[in-house]
Amino acid sequence: MTSARIVWMGLVYRVREFAVSRWFLLMAVLQPVIFATIAFYMFRAGGRPGTLLYAALGAGMMGIWSSTLFGSGGALQWNRWQGTLELLVAAPPPFLVVLLPLTLATSVTGAYSLVATLVWGRVFFGMPLHLAHPWLFLPAVAGAVLSLGLMGLLMASSFILYRHANALSNLLEYPVWVATGLLFPLTLLPGWVAPVSWLLAPRWGIDAIRRSALGGDVWFPLAMCAAAGAAYLVLAAVFLRIFERAARARATLALT
């Protein structure tokens, strides 16, 4: 079986698995809709109703990040609990190829949140849905989802030695929402946050999606998504090689 086929079949299988998971329903639909509603009412209360689309897109991206963070961060832990981690590591294909569809599936499933917040905003808040570059909107979403999936791969590969990855996931949700300007501009934050955001795929993902919807150059953030995704893939391959070997050598792979 070729690597491409393993990735594709794995992606389809995992997306179907996540689609019936209540946990992903919470992360990818309910939570983003609740946060979008909070943001809508906050912008309305502050007399800034024109920013509803801005908030809906940001809340949708928050959902994609949460789904990727908890899905990819917990990917190895779930397999540990289910007793399948050793089998996956021992399988003939490279572990990177086995893990990639799992992390991609978490961000693909997270993309439901963008649909949910846009529909929610349109139906319940009368949010106008006029896209500045309608033909670039889907490529922008695809680029964001792919780069987040690869970021998830980097997280999963880094968490292989850490048996309490879920706690780290709990910690990392809000900081990335803050540092990537998903619901408010980065200019509000201290100057040192912007360079940090350059390393994070959600920042370029939301830039590409927002510019395709509200106007502006989409290609630069999309290119940055691709560059960040490539960097994550290379780093994940290196980390997996080192950490997987260390976990096998220390016999800690399956310890919960």
């Binding site: 609740i34 909070i38 706690a167 910690l171 929402w177 803050v178 619901l183």
Partner: protein, 263 residues
């Protein structure tokens, strides 16, 4: 009476240590302190951008009080529901111990932890967001947070009971935590919400406590907010009673249909 008190105090503490999954420092620090820290920062900056509140204090106080829910909602859910998950519910219910002591005793450590998390939240506001309430208001603020945390703990007891029958108790706990953020005036003034959402919010814990804490931080005295605090306590008492009744009803139903430890 002596044994019931012992079950309430010692039993509550032991069950908390056994059943609260996040008690170890490497889980507790990122989850119970790190996440609230960034929640407060996130909503304060969102508040600055949206101009929804009347300054940072609105969001710092709202979120610093609300983060007690990290302990009250999740901690209390674990303290009740994990008995079934860990397979100890049957032995527990086979004892002749007072159910009131067993049930309410679990709330005491959760309450103390909620207070700690909330105090940490106020510390974050002071250290990072220049939140400076008048020093004379601090005792009243502490009392308000205590009352609100008691009420939220009682709410957690009801959620914990969900776990006595349902597998997805963590789903319910997470959903409740997020809905509290929306309905209880944590970040959006109740007056800016539709009437029905405000009405729901007034039936939930935290709403009146957060309102009282904001007024106190703005300089009001305890007498000015006593109505809000009594209402918050009444809401908490109603949830505690509902939680206890649900606990007894589910215990009876589970024994009757032999599904105590079934999943």
């Amino acid at each position: 009476m002596g044994s019931s008190l012992r079950v309430f105090l010692v039993g509550g503490l032991i069950s908390y240590r056994a059943l609260f999954n996040w008690i170890r420092p490497y889980v507790y620090v990122p989850t119970m302190l790190g996440a609230p820290l960034f929640q407060i920062v996130f909503f304060t900056y969102l508040g600055r951008y949206s101009q929804a509140g009347r300054g940072d204090a609105f969001f710092v106080v709202g979120n610093a009080v609300q983060v007690c829910g990290m302990s009250c909602v999740y901690g209390m859910t674990m303290a009740v529901a994990n008995e079934r998950w860990f397979g100890t519910l049957g032995p527990l219910l086979a004892t002749p111990a007072s159910r009131v002591a067993v049930f309410l005793g679990r709330g005491l450590p959760v309450f103390a932890n909620g207070l700690l998390v909330s105090a940490f939240g106020f510390g974050v506001g002071a250290a990072l967001l220049d939140f400076r309430p008048p020093a004379r208001t601090l005792p009243a603020l502490l009392l308000t947070v205590c009352v609100t945390t008691v009420s939220c703990t009682a709410f957690g007891m009801v959620l914990g009971c969900v776990g006595l029958r349902s597998k997805d108790f963590f789903f319910a706990a997470n959903l409740a935590y997020f809905l509290i953020l929306l309905f209880c005036g944590v970040n959006v003034p109740l007056s800016a919400l539709p009437g029905w959402m405000g009405a729901v919010g007034r039936c939930l814990p935290l709403t009146h406590g957060i309102d009282a804490a904001r007024r106190i931080a703005a300089g009001a005295g305890l007498a000015d907010v006593s109505g809000l605090l009594w209402t918050e306590l009444a809401v908490g008492a109603a949830y505690a009673a509902a939680g206890y009744l649900a606990f007894r009803a589910l215990e009876w139903a589970s024994r009757r249909s032999a599904v105590l430890d079934a999943f």
